[in-house]
Every structure is written in C-alpha cells, then in structure tokens.
C-alpha cells in the first residue's frame, strides 16, 4: 500500500496468466448469459464454447506456465483453437496467437507494445473472418477498444487509464450492436430479424477487455508479481 502515484503495472508473463485466470472465471460466471444472447440470433452455444475453451486454456497454462507474455497469449490462443470450435474458437484463437506473436520474446511489455499486439490480433480476426465493424460481430467491440486504447496512450495516459477507456469503448461497442443487422456469422441468416439483439461475440470481447483493465488495475494496486 502506498500513497505515491501508481507506478503502472508490471506487464509480464505473470500479468497475462492472472488475466487468463480471471478471464476464465468471468467467462464461467457469464457463460449462461452469453448462451442466452446466442439463442435468438444464433445457436445457443457461445457461452458453452467460451467456457470450454477458457477452462481448458487456464488448466494447460497453469500446468506448464509459459515464460514470456508472448508465449502466454500465443499458447492460450492455440488452446482455444484446439478446444472451442465454432466461429469463436478460430477467431479468438487467432486474436491471441497474433497478439502473442507480435510481443515477440520480451519479458516485459510496454503499453505501446500491448497496443500494437492487440491491434495485430484484431487485424488477424478481421482478416480471417472477413468482417468489418458494423457487421454485428466481435469486431464491433474489439476495434473501438483498440482505437480508444491508442487514443488514450497517444494523449499521454498511463496503461491503467488507457485500458479503462478501452473497456468502456468495448462495452459501448457491444451495446451498439443491438440495432445492427448482422452481415457475418450465424445471425446473418436472420436478415432483418437479427436487429434488436446484442451480439454474443461482441459481448464476450467486452468481458475479456474488462478483465484486462481489471488485471492492470489490480496489478498496480496490489503489486502482485
């Protein structure tokens, strides 16, 4: 505990492992809600898919903890690809693998590196799935989040504040999918009937970014390394 200004969290492999553990817990808690969102415009499995993937990834990473931030993300991505299936498995898997790769083998990550890595991951999602913002997919949360993160860092904000901005942007992005007509994924089959429902993938993306912001806050406050 200290009254000095926050030194900014140490973003190392342990940071991302804490993120993964917390993400798995949040996904587990919210899984039914995600599946519920996937019912009217999808096939009622997004929560189950995410829970299966994150539980497996957490288990594997805890068993054999990777040593670098890049490896934590890349291996988490690989586990998601191997266990989730569906659309979200390859997409989230690619997000994390590309982000991990972008981090290279540095032991600690700067805010700018994190931003670039997330951007690389989100680009990977866009490339793989062929979707763009406004198509009512996870990109509607991810793209504004990365933009908000960038913007805040450019304005001189610290990582904690920048991630808090990203969290809000992701949440707003997820909410903003409600009036959209889906053009990609299963919801697109519904045409106009997809309007009026929040996209499950955008919702899980907002959850995952929220956990990232929490992890940064808690890492700085508690100094847990």
């Amino acid at each position: 505990m200290s009254e000095e200004p926050s030194p900014g969290p140490v973003v190392d492999a342990a940071f991302f492992r804490r993120w993964l553990v917390a993400a798995a817990a949040v996904i587990d808690r919210e899984a039914d809600q995600l599946t519920e969102l996937d019912s009217p415009i999808g096939d009622a499995d997004h929560g189950a898919n995410m829970r299966r993937g994150f539980t497996a990834a957490r288990g594997a990473i805890e068993k054999e903890p990777p040593e670098t931030p890049g490896d934590v993300l890349a291996q988490t991505g690989r586990h998601l690809i191997s266990t989730v299936g569906g659309a979200s498995g390859p997409l989230y898997g690619t997000l994390l693998r590309k982000a991990g790769k972008a981090l290279g083998d540095s032991a600690q990550v700067t805010p700018e590196q994190l931003r670039d890595a997330l951007k690389a991951g989100v680009d990977g999602v866009a490339q793989l799935g062929g979707a763009a913002p406004g198509d009512k997919t996870m990109l509607d949360a991810l793209v504004p989040a990365v933009e908000a993160l960038s913007f805040a860092l450019d304005k001189g904000a610290g990582l904690i504040d920048a991630l808090a901005a990203a969290r809000i942007a992701a949440q707003e992005g997820a909410l903003a999918t409600v009036p959209l007509q889906a053009r990609k994924g299963r919801a697109s089959y519904l045409g106009e009937r997809s309007i009026g429902h929040q996209d499950p993938g955008a919702t899980s993306s907002a959850l995952l970014l929220g956990v990232l912001a929490d992890t940064a806050e808690q890492s700085a406050a508690g100094g847990t390394g």
Partner: protein
C-alpha cells in the same frame, strides 16, 4: 426440456461410446472425437473427411463406411469441430491419394477446416475442399456469410463417396462433389424450436398455430413466420422455394428429410405432397429418400432437398453404400 442424457458436458462423448458399441465396423476414437472406417486407409483411395457440430445425426458419423465417408469429426452440439480432429482424421484416412474435406458453409466450420487443411498440408497430406451451400432460405451475397449447408450434404457425401470408392483421383472427386453441390438446393420448415443440452430450453419461441419458414439446422430461427398450414401447403411453399432457384432441366433426386421429432408417418405423407407438387411443376423425380438424415436434435419439421442428376450422378447415387445411416447394395 427433459433429455435422455447424463450431463450436457458429456453428450458427445457418451454418444461416441454408443456408436463404438453399436458399430464394430467403425473405429471410434472417443477421446479425440474421430470416427473412421475400420479398413482405412483404403489403398489408392481418396479419403473423404467431413464433420460439423453434433446434433444432426446420422450426419456425419452415420455416413462413415464403404461408398461414403472415410472419417467424420463430430464437434460439440451445433459447434464446429476443432482443427486437431480434422488433421487426425485426415492422417487416418490418407492412403497417399489425398483427402477431400467436405465442409458445410458455416463460419465456424469454414474457419476450422481451413486451419486444419493448412496443418494437414504441413504434414504432407494433399488436401482438397468442397463447400456445401445448398440452403435457398439464406440470401447469398459476397457481403454475407452466404448460404448454409444442409440436406445437400448427404448428396455430396454419397455421390463423391461412390466416386472415391471407384478409385477416382482427388481432383475428380472434388469436381464431382462441387457439381453435386451446385446441383442441390434445400429449404426447411420448423413446427417447433430445438432445445440444446447446454441451454435446456427451446432456442426460440414458436407459438402454437405458427410455423417457421426457411429454418436452418442449428436452431437458428427462419426468415419468416406464418400461420400453421397443411402438409400440402407446406409442400408447395417448400418445393417452390427450391425450384425457383434450381430450375431443373433433368430428373432430380429428392430428399424429404425430417428435422428429428416429426414422426415418419407424417414425413411420408409430406413426401407424397412434395411429389404431387413436383409432378404439377413437371419435374421428374428419379429417386426419393424419406427419413431423418440431417436433423436438428428434437426439432419438429422437415426439409426438401432436390439434386439435379445426369446418368453418371444417378449411377453413383445407386452405387453400393454401407454405413450406419444409409445402406444399400452392400
């Protein structure tokens, strides 16, 4: 919704254990979720691999065997399988003649099979792909996910399977599979919504007295809801939706497919009405298959798939097949 299951988490593994005891002619790898012909790889033969979410049985596992698939990869319920399964299946069935992935056009299936194809090629397996997208209920455009793969999958797997069994090379098996897909169109209706084990209740509300037109096979609602109709009226809407897009010039194969909970008695009556409509539209029907083949768990309803055939495709359709779900001549 009551279900005959243990816990939702194990339904796929439990079903695979059941397939293993019921079908000694298959190699069922419960842990890795791959169902393979016991005699695979068949020397010199192109290997056919398909897969997709579970809940559509007998598709795909029930179509593994002589004259159809060499292997199937069942995903979680209504969830595409993962690349690891597909790579494992490809390795198990590749005799050196290469492997054809038969992929229903859903984002998840496409992405996972694409990743698997890359990984399998890294392992030195020659992989070709065919995308099945026969569902006319979905508007096809470059800017959407495109048409879904539904009943046409059965025609692709059976006819390409017969070609492979006869020793056709990979390129030819792939081109026949594409031809079958391009010649096939489907349209489905639901009288009730489906309940998945994970959710435990219907995925959408379908009030008494209404039916849903243009449904998929994953509990996705359709594009339109209408007051309940007679079997004859439903047959007209369904067959006309297919014909509007297919405009067949030659005889067709007809699949009158139950979604799972519609009794065979009703399905045969529906088949009679579909035939009546086809006759009125001057479409000749070469063969008719009636039954629950591409299902959606406990959904009530039916779909019609027509596949326009020439003599060669008809010959391949009639060729022997010996699988759990489709069997004749062997």
């Amino acid at each position: 919704m009551k279900m005959l299951i243990n816990v939702p988490e194990t339904v796929v593994a439990d079903a695979l254990r059941g397939m293993a005891v019921a079908h000694p002619e298959l190699t069922v790898d419960v842990e890795h979720r791959v169902i393979v012909r016991r005699d695979a790889p068949v020397p010199g033969k192109v290997g056919l691999v398909s897969g997709g979410g579970s809940g559509h049985e007998p598709l795909h596992g029930g179509f593994v065997g002589q004259g159809m698939l060499d292997a199937a990869c069942p995903g979680e319920v209504f969830t595409s399988p993962v690349p690891d399964q597909m790579v494992r299946a490809a390795a198990a069935v590749d005799s050196g003649a290469g492997v054809l992935f038969i992929v229903k056009n859903y984002t998840g299936d496409v992405l996972n099979f694409d990743m698997a194809a890359e990984l399998a090629e890294d392992e030195g397996i020659q992989v070709a792909k065919v995308l099945v997208n026969d569902d006319v209920a979905v508007t096809d455009s470059l800017y959407t996910a495109g048409r879904r793969g539904t009943g046409g999958t059965l025609f692709v797997e059976k006819i390409a399977g017969a070609a492979a069994e006869e020793g056709a090379p990979l390129e030819q098996v792939q081109s026949i599979a594409r031809q079958v897909n391009q010649s096939s169109r489907s349209f489905g209706v639901a009288l009730s919504a489906v309940s998945t084990p994970a959710k435990g209740s219907p995925t959408f509300d379908l009030p008494a007295g209404e039916l849903e037109l243009g449904i998929g096979i994953h509990g996705e609602p359709g594009r339109e809801r209408r007051p309940m109709m007679t079997a004859g009226e439903i047959a007209e809407v369904t067959v006309d939706a297919v014909l509007e897009d297919l405009r067949p010039q030659r005889p067709v194969l007809a699949l009158v497919n139950g979604m799972g909970a519609t009794p065979l008695l009703e399905l045969y009556g529906f088949a009679a009405e579909a035939h009546r409509v086809l006759a009125q539209r001057n479409v000749a029907v070469a063969r008719t298959l009636v039954g629950n083949y591409v299902t959606s768990l406990d959904m009530a309803g039916a779909s019609v798939t027509l596949c326009q055939v020439d003599e060669e495709l008809l010959r391949l359709w009639d060729a022997p097949v010996a699988t759990a779900g489709l069997r004749w001549g062997a």
